[in-house]
């Protein structure tokens, strides 16, 4: 493989020679492996290596970007990026100022590369055996993937940052069938490269398979408005989808009417509601020391005591909104420019226990576990992997998986109870502008939402 260190040292000397307001380069090398099962059989096992890079240039407010696998002749790539930026640029370049950093971030604690393929396969075999001990199972899917990535970031202001990232994801799903009906249940897990964190989940895997079968005889909820209680996993997806995306400044900064809607100080929820995004938390899938623009990670309060107090920024959005950069510019890999993204996003814990939260609900829905979620900023939908009716303060019959939808401006205001049991889910992956799945984590305690729209029969 070409040595990205040697290439980057030469490039660091050259970057200042070009006529641009700002130039940065990111070089990456990565190794990945994956193992998938469909049904009883192993379906695919593979290994991949990749080397690539990109150059991004800013001239008069316009961006040029080139990405490549060929690392030879980088000066011509820089020239191309600068030329493209010049074609675009017609205004003034503005980037929030950041101290140039020269840093080598210590190696990751855990690397999936140290685990042999056969040890990985052994664990997945055990989980697949458990799934298939469940009667009435039609099929199952297990997808395991890991990666180890080294990145070198450098820019024309003198930054030179070496970072590493390890990542593991494990998705399991079981499909049950009967009487022309098909139902499924799933588990999404992940970790910052620590293989032991996905070990020992035999009990959870067995329960997942059983719940797929149980869904075959579960009724579908009647569509309409309910008081809904979300478990920490689903509430984490909710905060990510319903609010997190709206707080990404690149949606807002050039849109005058949206700026007025998202004005700092606006009341979004009750004084008990606090929402945070923090890449500075250690060891989670959204954690890092520097973002992909070389900006140090931060803990950013988005909502404090129910009021909008902050948002997520790249250097450009921060400068254009006269706010501080937050270190949230991320790129999924070298073939994309960094854009504003979430990292580890969560609702801070409140005071209520789960029992207190459901105690006074006469008829409601308890929605658990993540299936998916998407947003159009104002409106969002997210779907639960499991659901139960709540009747007279107690959990009652299981339901078919439910899809919840709402309007962020009213729904956050309708959160009227926040649990004391914050839990971070590591199984998520976020998509935006074709860059997906980006490693993130989401979290929350149990929360209760009044008047939430549930799709059903």
């Amino acid at each position: 493989m070409p040595d990205i260190k040697a290439v980057s040292r030469q490039l660091a000397k050259d970057l200042k020679k070009y006529r641009a307001d700002y130039i940065e380069a990111r070089l990456e090398e990565s190794q990945r492996s994956h193992i998938t099962y469909r049904g009883r059989e192993l379906e695919s096992v593979g290994q991949a290596t990749a080397v690539g890079g990109n150059i991004r240039a800013l001239v008069k407010g316009g961006w040029g970007f080139t990405s490549f696998n060929e690392l030879s002749d980088l000066p011509s790539r820089v020239e191309l990026a600068v030329k493209q930026a010049k074609l675009v640029g017609k205004e003034e370049s503005r980037l929030a100022s950041v101290e140039p950093a020269v840093d080598t971030v210590a190696s990751e604690k855990h690397s999936p590369l140290a685990i042999s393929l056969s040890e990985k396969k052994q664990l997945l075999d055990e989980y697949n055996d458990i799934i298939w001990r469940t009667p009435r199972l039609q099929t199952s899917v297990i997808g395991y993937a890991d990666s180890h990535k080294k990145t070198i970031f450098l820019n024309s202001a003198g930054s030179y940052i070496q970072q590493q990232r390890t990542d593991i994801t494990l998705r399991l799903s079981a499909v049950a069938a009967g009487d022309g009906e098909v139902q499924q249940a799933g588990l999404s897990l992940g970790s910052r490269g620590d293989f032991s964190s996905i070990k020992g989940l035999h009990q959870e895997v067995a329960e997942m398979a059983k719940s797929a079968v149980a869904l075959l005889s579960a009724p579908q909820v009647k569509g309409g408005e309910y008081t809904v209680v979300l478990d920490p996993v689903l509430a984490g997806v909710f905060v990510h989808e319903a609010f997190g995306h709206l707080s990404e400044a690149d949606f807002v900064y050039e849109n005058e009417s949206l700026r007025q809607v998202m004005v700092l100080g606006r009341k979004f929820g009750s004084p008990e509601l606090n929402i945070v995004d923090s890449a500075a938390l250690r060891g989670l899938r959204g954690s890092y020391k520097y973002d992909d623009e070389g900006v140090p990670a931060n803990k950013t309060y988005l909502i404090k005591e129910g009021e909008l107090v902050g948002r997520l920024h790249s250097r450009e959005t921060a400068a254009r909104m006269n706010e501080k950069p937050t270190g949230n510019a991320r790129a999924i890999n070298y073939s994309f420019p960094p854009i504003v993204r979430m990292t580890n996003t969560y609702i801070e814990p409140g005071k209520s226990s789960f029992e207190e939260i459901i105690a006074d609900i006469k008829e409601g829905v308890y929605a658990k576990n993540w299936f998916g979620g998407t947003t159009s900023m104002e409106m969002f939908t997210f779907s639960a992997g499991e659901a139960y009716m709540i009747r007279n303060g107690k959990l009652a019959e299981a339901l078919r998986p439910v899809v919840l939808t709402g309007n962020v401006f009213t729904t956050l205001n309708n959160i009227d109870a926040i649990g004391n049991d914050l839990d971070m889910n590591q199984g998520g992956g976020c998509g935006k502008a074709g860059q997906m799945p980006l490693p993130v984590s989401n979290g929350s305690p149990h929360i209760r939402i009044r008047k939430c729209l549930v799709g059903g029969s």
């Binding site: 695919s44 970007f65 309409g224 998986p401 799709g455």
Partner: protein, 433 residues
């Protein structure tokens, strides 16, 4: 490629080398003006081997990493799935026109003008709208060779133009948009602008719908967002083989309304997913999936076909990993009813243009449930305004078993699906007032 193949042949019974390279130039417009120009070059080399009857697989971005690649593939072959198929030997491919050199030679300045013209048309209609647009050209080259003498290569061009507009008035947000792709350069922004202007016109007023069953018309974009994900999973040979497809054991049986015919066709000239062969070197063919309501066939790659005791339909696609069966270009045949006649027929109902989150439900079973991101209320045969805070749910198989009508005019949705509107007599609607 030949060197890697020669080296792999020494350690394995069969081997295949696959090389995909592309160069893409997207121009991005943000807040109604050009914001960035990008050039993306990429190379992807994949080695698939069969060793002691098992599949091994490794990929890299650099064709120079020859040594490691073969060893990596051999390592995975210890655990790999038993290979049940033979790689194709020399094959004759159908001629499919997919390369227009005019795409590559389109100047960046011209692409910039195209984006600007498109945005100008939209802004003239609605001055306070904020648009993001993308104009892109791409050239893709594919080459594959295998140890049985099979070889294939082609080069294709893709040109794309798309726009998304957002109109925000306090906390009321409206999103409109349209995009198309072609093997030829797109030179006129009018077709795309017309769709967006129509959306803006119809969404001018707001209307509310009751929570109950209502007749619903899915526009071509609505059909693509609500039904296609479920159907593509059900017709995937792999889902069928596992017994997880609700229509897997209904081959030749009538499952859908007689008015519905649907097929996959990778041989249509200058469509973005057209090609003379699939990613395993099997010749492309038109594959009927639904013929007048009857399940006609499923989509297969080599391995899935061998396990299912049938032949590959030339539907193997690689998304970075081993090939899997995948649809290329989906066509739904038009019928007789015009869109206006459908609307005229409805006393109270809904037109769905874009459904959000439809793919999140139990799509394997055909259940879908989504928020109506863009949809209109129909009252006494007229579209009266846009609906909000509205959710529809149903089951694809129940809905398509008996439809009220299939539209007479099909449209391309994003370059990959060609469908007329579909009119469903009743669907469950939940709405928040």
């Amino acid at each position: 490629m030949e060197e890697i193949l020669a080296k792999a042949k020494k350690v394995a019974e069969a081997a295949e080398v696959f090389l995909l390279s592309s160069e893409e130039t997207p121009l991005q417009f943000e807040a109604n003006r050009l914001k960035s120009i990008q050039t993306k070059q990429s190379t992807h080399l994949a080695l698939r081997i069969i060793k002691e009857g098992r599949l091994g697989y490794a990929t890299t971005t650099e064709p120079t990493a020859r040594q490691g690649l073969v060893e990596s593939a051999v390592e995975t072959a210890h655990f790999g799935m038993p290979a049940k198929f033979e790689l194709p030997s020399t094959t004759t491919y159908p001629p499919v026109d997919i390369l227009d050199p005019a795409v590559e030679s389109t100047p960046i300045e011209k692409m910039g003008q195209l984006g600007e013209e498109l945005i100008a048309i939209i802004i003239e209609h609605t001055p306070d709208i904020i648009c993001e647009a993308m104009v892109a050209k791409e050239t893709i080259s594919l080459a594959l060779i295998n140890s049985r003498g099979g070889q294939a290569s082609y080069k294709k061009s893709i040109f794309s133009l798309g726009i998304m507009g957002s109109l925000i008035r306090d906390t009321d947000m409206l999103f409109v948009g349209e995009g198309q792709s072609s093997g030829h350069p797109i030179t006129q922004p009018q077709d795309i602008a017309r769709v967006v202007l129509n959306q803006l016109e119809l969404a001018k007023n707001q209307a509310s719908v009751p929570t109950r069953e209502l007749p619903v018309i899915f526009t071509p974009r609505g059909v693509a967002s609500a039904f296609i994900p479920s159907l593509m999973m059900a017709f995937n040979g792999k889902t069928v083989l596992e017994g997880a497809s609700p229509i897997g054991n209904r081959l030749g049986k009538k499952v859908f309304d007689q008015k519905i015919s649907l097929w996959d066709d990778p041989t249509i000239a200058y469509r973005p997913h057209s090609r003379p062969c699939d990613d395993e070197g099997v010749a492309s063919q038109r594959t009927p999936l639904i013929e007048e309501g009857k399940v006609a066939s499923f989509l297969y790659d080599l391995q899935t076909a061998a396990l299912a005791n049938t032949r590959s339909t030339g539907s193997g696609r690689r998304g970075g990993g081993l090939p899997v069966p995948s649809a290329s270009t989906i066509i739904i045949a038009p019928d007789k009813t015009t869109f206006d006649d459908m609307v005229n027929d409805i006393k109270e109902g809904l037109v769905i243009e874009q459904l959000m989150g439809a793919e999140q439900g139990n799509i394997l079973g055909g259940d879908f449930s989504g928020n109506v991101l863009l949809g209109y209320k129909v009252e006494s045969g007229k579209i009266v305004g846009r609906v909000k805070n509205t959710m529809v749910s149903g089951n694809v198989y129940q809905i398509l078993k008996e439809v009220a009508a299939i539209g007479s005019q099909a449209e391309w949705v994003g370059g990959m699906v060609n469908t007329p509107p579909i009119y469903c007599p009743r669907l469950s609607v939940a709405s928040k007032q």
